[in-house]
């Protein structure tokens, strides 16, 4: 299987963190886990046909569906599907024309990570990541992927409302150019770009990087058992985020094991474990009662619909604007990727 780091732990990262081995013992299915760092990498690896299941974010799931890489999923074969938050079901990133292509796994926001020694009071805005006069100048670390242009768009939504951005993944030419210009201006502030959570966490903990966009998981890994050097916050402007879906390969020879895994991963207990380990909101409503830290669902706002109103789940940008506008053409993802490469090369 192909998974985001932290989604399918088999004890190799930390012997105490393991929900793959119990699955193997209960079902007799053999699991090999390969992790990936970006959605682009997930799509590429899954396209090799080597993997039966994948945890796909919204900017990968539709590409897998339209690329004819995955099969429809009969949700009634995964009994735990019934307990999943209704607001995660039948969404544009997991269903196409009424057909379901996967099981929702959980969701989260790409947070602002910061070094607590450099910033004793929590920043409330993404300003320090974008402002040329930032106190974190030379010590910030953005995500190394074209989809990061959407983070610039989220910031522009509140700082330049005249651009009229409604959805950071539906950018027409003018809006796209403004977002790219912002990322270009950001470059002198950057210490390094990150795609590897270990490197990012090490940079944040050592102080080489003091502000970064990333995941709760990175802060947890960097802090280890008792550290407090890295903290997270969701800034007022909102954030990009993810709502992930487990999907099954089109002609998978191991369909039974794949369905068993999909059901296992969203079972109340396991979904709670993953949500706590990765630092995200679980998909299963019953998981909230089973987390070790009883506050987990409150901290990650699993049950608050309001919190998610300014979290923009990763979506693949396409020419037919995903915000529904029909009078303009939007910039499609391949151009986002190409622009990112060029920007990183200058």
């Amino acid at each position: 299987m192909l998974a985001w780091p932290g989604y399918a732990e088999d004890g190799s990262t930390d012997p105490a963190v393991d929900w793959v081995t119990p699955f193997e013992q209960q079902t007799g299915c053999q699991v090999t886990v390969k992790t990936f760092a970006t959605s682009a990498e997930a799509v590429q690896l899954f396209s090799t046909g080597e993997y039966d299941v994948v945890s796909a974010s919204g900017d990968a799931s539709l590409r897998l569906v339209y690329g004819d890489r995955v099969q429809p999923v009969n949700t009634s074969l995964a009994p735990n599907y019934a307990d999943i938050f209704p607001e995660l079901k039948d969404k544009p990133w997991n269903s196409v024309a009424g057909t379901n292509y996967g099981i929702p796994h959980g969701r989260g926001a790409n947070l602002l990570l910061y070094n607590t020694a450099a910033f004793p009071t929590a920043p409330t805005s993404w300003k320090d990541m974008w402002d040329p006069a930032s106190p974190a100048k030379g010590k910030i670390s953005p995500y190394d992927d074209g989809i990061y242009i959407a983070d610039a768009a989220v910031y522009l939504m509140s700082t330049r409302p005249e651009l009229g951005i409604k959805n950071p993944y539906a950018l027409d030419r003018t809006q796209f150019d403004a977002a790219v210009e912002l990322v270009r201006q950001q470059k002198p502030l950057v210490a390094e770009y990150w795609a590897d959570v270990v490197k990012q966490g090490q940079g944040l903990a050592s102080g080489t990087v003091t502000q970064s966009q990333g995941w709760q998981l990175t802060a947890n890994l960097a802090n280890g058992e008792s550290g407090t050097s890295v903290a997270t916050t969701k800034p007022v402007e909102g954030a990009t985020g993810w709502s992930d879906t487990w999907m099954i390969k089109k002609d998978s020879p191991n369909v039974n094991c794949a369905y068993l895994w999909l059901n296992h991963v969203v079972s109340p207990q396991v979904n709670a474990q993953i949500a706590e380990y990765f630092g995200e909101a679980p998909a299963n409503q019953k998981s909230c009662a089973l987390t070790t830290n009883k506050e987990h669902c409150a901290v990650f706002h699993a049950e608050e619909t309001d919190f998610w109103s300014n979290v923009y789940y990763w979506t693949t940008p396409v020419e037919n604007c995903v915000d529904g506008r029909t009078d303009v053409k939007c910039v499609p993802y391949d151009e986002w990727a190409r622009t990112w490469s060029e920007l990183r090369s200058t």
């Binding site: 799509v43 210490a191 390094e192 770009y193 102080g207 080489t208 993802y333 151009e335 920007l343 200058t346």
Partner: protein, 288 residues
Amino acid sequence: MTTVRTRGTVAPSGRRVAALLHRAPRLRLAGLLAPALLWLVLLYLVPLGLLLATAFFDTDSFTGRITYEFTTENVVDVLTTPAYLLTVARTVGVAVGVTLLCVLLALPLAVYTALVSRRPGLLVALVLTPLWASYLVKVYAWRILLAPEGPLGGASPGYGWFAVIVTLTYLWLPYMVLPLHAGLTSMRGSYLEAAADLGARPWTAFRTVVLPVLAPAVAAGSVFTFSLSLGDYITVQLVGGTGQMLGNLVYQNFSTDLPFAAAVAVLPLIVMAAYLLTIRRTGALDRL
């Protein structure tokens, strides 16, 4: 034929094959070359051809699947975008820097191990020991060592191109020491004494005896250090700050846009071909 006849244990069929091969030297040659040629063609030339061909295809912007329609768009884009050409220049700069630094460090070391030391075998083994450790572990060690807040403190150059060159030099140094050591070992003892006996002054001895041995050795070592640096993309991610090399461009794009990545991958091929041709013109490769 005599060997076959004296060995009574060879089966009659084996004897017939041997006889056939003896009578047909071309067949013998073909038989000997076939495995190597097959290897070269199947695992080297065919993929290279596929890579070149892929560069001229297009991708579906949404699914990332290749559409097999001929287009020169990617190749033209790669060859005309200043940012990509700048990346070529930077990458070549790093490879040249690493090679020069390796020569500078390896030369005195190899002179000592090959000409002076009484335990050359032990010393060469010691030079090779870093190769036993994992690449990633070594680069992470340099990342921690060179961190602006790291053990070097204010003396650290920080992450950037200098850090990349230093780290890669550390990684590839053994590949320069080995050929230099092997080259210089052939001169051990008698060569220099003979030159002195024949009345050569030190400079003349260096020019006519040492240099002809040294030049091909340096060339051989530089092919390693230059090509390994040219293709590296992990070191620059860990200690290069915001910089990136040609390999990163390929890595960034091969998942979303394989034809474009293939077009980028042609650039180091051109650089390497130019490099090997230049070296060949100096005649250094002939004496390897």
